[in-house]
């Protein structure tokens, strides 16, 4: 594992807190974009030998997670004329506190899992688990459809970090398939957010409560 990997993962963890604590939707999307770019860089660092395939993979990840998806999200908030605040269901301070507790738990939990000797001391597993937990937190505590998409993306980023340990097991084609699925998912979610805003003149999922027992 490359020496530069850990500092980048620390930056990724800090961006999680930006995404949790920011009140402006734009800031959250910027944090997400930066996280995507950093993750693309980690792909190169995680490989011991850098081949054309690795570079291609990193470029695809940066393009999708750092540029295309954030642009789609910005487009969605411009298109839909809405208040640009995050609308959390719980307060920002509580979100940050829960995020801190989640990160601590992730670090403790990853200590109990047996780690291969070449990965001992590396931040990959705790960073991955705490990013997944942050994604869940954003998903469950934000009312706007678009912030739920952000939560899903953060969750997906956490899984992506874990994938760094398995660069040999995941063939290039499958990695690209995963990214393609992510892209199409965000695309369809974007269309639906657009419809939600047309239908209910809001993008809050609080209005999506007609279907229940």
């Amino acid at each position: 594992m490359n020496q530069l990997l850990d500092p980048i993962l620390v930056a990724v963890l800090l961006l999680n807190f930006v995404a949790l604590g920011a009140s402006q939707l734009r800031t959250v999307i910027h944090a997400l974009a930066l996280q995507g770019v950093l993750l693309g860089v980690t792909v190169v660092l995680a490989h011991s030998t850098v081949t054309v395939g690795v570079i291609l993979m990193a470029v695809a990840a940066i393009a999708l997670k750092g540029v295309v998806i954030p642009r789609m999200l910005f487009h969605a908030i411009r298109e839909v004329v809405i208040r640009r605040e995050v609308e959390p269901i719980i307060g920002f301070i509580s979100s940050l506190l829960l995020g801190g507790v989640g990160t601590a738990l992730a670090i403790l939990f990853s200590k109990t899992l047996p780690i291969a000797h070449e990965h001992i001391g590396s931040l990959v597993v705790p960073a991955s688990l705490s990013t997944v937990l942050t994604g869940f937190l954003i998903l469950t505590t934000r009312a706007k459809a678009i912030t739920q998409v952000v939560g899903y993306l953060v969750l997906e980023n956490g899984i992506f970090i874990f994938g760094l340990l398995l660069v040999e097991a995941m063939p290039f084609l499958v990695e690209l398939g995963v990214l393609l699925d992510l892209f199409v998912a965000i695309f369809i979610m974007g269309i639906i957010i657009h419809r939600i805003s047309q239908e209910f003149s809001t993008v809050s999922t609080r209005k999506l409560s007609a279907l229940k027992e």
């Binding site: 969750l155 997906e156 956490g158 398939g177 995963v178 639906i192 007609a210 279907l211």
Partner: protein, 477 residues
Amino acid sequence: MAWLLIVVPLLTAAAAAAVPSSRWRPWLVPLGGLAHLVLVGCALAGAPVSAFSGWLSLDPLGKLVLMFVSVLFFLCALYAPGYLALRADRPNRVFCACLLAMLAMMTLVILSHHLGLMWVGMEATTLATAPLLFFNHNPRSLEATWKYLLIGSVGIALALLGSFFLAYSSLHEGLESTLLFDDLVKLAPQLSRPWLHAAFVLLLVGYGTKMGLAPMHTWKPDAYGEAPGLVGALLAGGVTSCAFLAILRFYQICRAANETAFAREIMIFVGLLSMAVAAVFMVRQRDFKRMLAYSSVEHMGILVLGIGIGGLATFGALLHLLTNGVTKGVLFLSAGNIHRAYGSKLTDDVRGAIRRLPVSGSLFLAGFLAITGSPPGGPFISEFTILNGAIGEGKFVVAGLFLLLLAIVFVGMGATVLRVVQGTPSPQAAATTFQDRPQVVVPILVFLGLVLLLGVYLPPPLESMLREAAAFLEGGR
């Protein structure tokens, strides 16, 4: 051969997207289904199917599920042109293309022996079905689609994390990390236990979300309630079967790793929980399509429970996969017809379905009797086999709870179904134009024929397929 099974439906989907005529386009769906069925027949009869150095291959378990999904899709596809002709007001280009794309992606999931590729296929089925749920383009279907897409994607993301954990469990022991199913089964005894356990739980939660097991089932009533009956039948019989197959693959790895007891305990718990949750929500259910969704939650629970019990119940669970799927075909399609005729799916408005729609109403009643385990329907045999297996394995408490929950479901579901079929239809309902026509009734009759066939007589080729699949699942050490 293997890739043809995936490419042919995809090409038909592209053709459906290209055809300009909305009247003729729906006929491409049964055409694609028929081509797929013929190819599956060749694949089952011919030499072992394998492609891309074992990434795609057809094992006995895959054969069973592939055959079933192909038949189910073809019968549902026969219903599609008649249904879409009734909904001529709605554009059907995306609908037809997505139906065929869904078939291609289900085939990909069934054939893949690479767990990463299987994940890609599974997520693609979620994406292909989302536009199908949104067919009605109203606020309610919008809400259902959003929940389905978000919950499904998050669940499936957890399954990806689980797949990664599984790959790491082999890397940790100094073995080469792999996601090829056959390699993982071979390496299973040496895999790192903590990672394997964590992986199984994540995978059961992840693919269990797609299958609709409690407590990850919350998208299901909304999605099945708002989707056209045809889509409900395909989701309840097809996509859920693929997710079940994915869970079975990981169960096999656990078995090969001598962790059968661990996997079984969790599966029995999740199975009984799903049945219990479904039973609670089915009592006094006013919406008959949501009732069918809870019935699907219940039967997914029965499938997982059967595998968790093991022994004879494994055979029962695999048979139940088929019997539940074809019975759900009867129920969802006939419920769709009733919904069309009344313009409502609440028991407050829908009364006297047997008088208003003699064929569809009777089929709905027959489907209800079959799904709740009345002889001579197919589910009776499969549920009885699972019960037999539970008693044979000495799991008397599980057997008792299984029977109790089945009884509660029978009463709860019966109350709703009888309200729908009995009585006299309201004047508004009698005034609508929908009538029982051959296009929308014959596929359901064929489904009912299959339900009865599976109940009274299991054709020897099918029985040997089931036995091979059960042996493949239970053996493989």
